[in-house]
Symmetry: C2
Subunit: 133 residues, 2 copies
DNA sequence: ACACCAGTTTACGTGAACGTCAACCCCTTT
DNA sequence: AAAGGGGTTGACGTTCACGTAAACTGGTGT
């Protein structure tokens, strides 16, 4: 798969993909004599992971750390213990983010509730209420 | 409460607080003849909200939109209907983010599991296992 | 052979979110 | 009165995550 095909599929630009490679987040095939980049399912999976991370507010550096956790090749030389410990820390952070999101959603829902009721008062029974009767 | 007190409490710099004001996210007391800024509980609440939003990957512009939803004064002139509709859209987005985070956490947990098992194999029973016996 | 298209490198530009520094108050403490 | 200790306003600098443009290369159809 070519770079612009992949870009089109994931709604980003080739530049973005090359940038991620430059940052060490992707490692596509630099075919013999480095003419073109080729992307397999592995790279696409990584890329979607990067994009997910971005949507959730992680920096590329943070995402790289997580990706390296996923990557057996890269963690090869490292101490497994540390990797596992670091993974647990990351999982903890993710859990905290989930809780914060739930909190934020809760607050928004409260205000939403208030406004919805305000709307009921301001706009007393219209025809809409009688439509499906 | 002064600006640097507030900054210290929330682990940010005064500059950041002033910047948020410049962006329309905060509106502290500009005391008579504008000598100094004073922050009450309302502004502190807003600020924590901003920081929460930032941690979750929202831009300041997006956060401002949400804050304006919260703010009765600011939504005064607007059509309540639109405000409510927009609020529902935002709630939807939050829910999607929560789901994505859960997804990401799930993936990380899978890999974590694999690595933990690898570690069990590589490091067969040590003294640690006998310690609390 | 030539045009054309897609991909590549290089390099400078850009917007968001602040950091940093200078110069200037204002109040208080000595 | 002089010296500090915040606070305030510019204004320029900086980092991250790309955008954009230029110049080049490599295969492909005609």
């Amino acid at each position: 798969m070519s770079i612009s095909n992949l870009a089109q599929e994931l709604l980003i630009t080739p530049r973005t993909i090359r940038y991620y490679e430059e940052m060490g987040l992707l490692t596509p095939f630099h075919h013999e004599k480095m003419s073109q980049r080729l992307y397999g399912p592995r790279e696409r999976a990584r890329l979607t992971l990067v994009l997910r991370g971005k949507r959730l507010g992680f920096t590329l550096a943070e995402i790289k750390e997580m990706i390296d956790l996923y990557d057996i090749d890269r963690t090869e030389g490292l101490q497994l213990e540390r990797t596992v410990a670091y993974g647990e820390k990351k999982l903890q952070e993710l859990e905290e983010k989930i809780q914060e999101l739930i909190l934020l959603k809760g607050e928004l829902m409260d205000y939403h509730q208030q406004f919805t009721e305000l709307l009921k008062k301001d706009e007393p029974p219209t025809n809409d209420n009688l439509d499906n009767r």
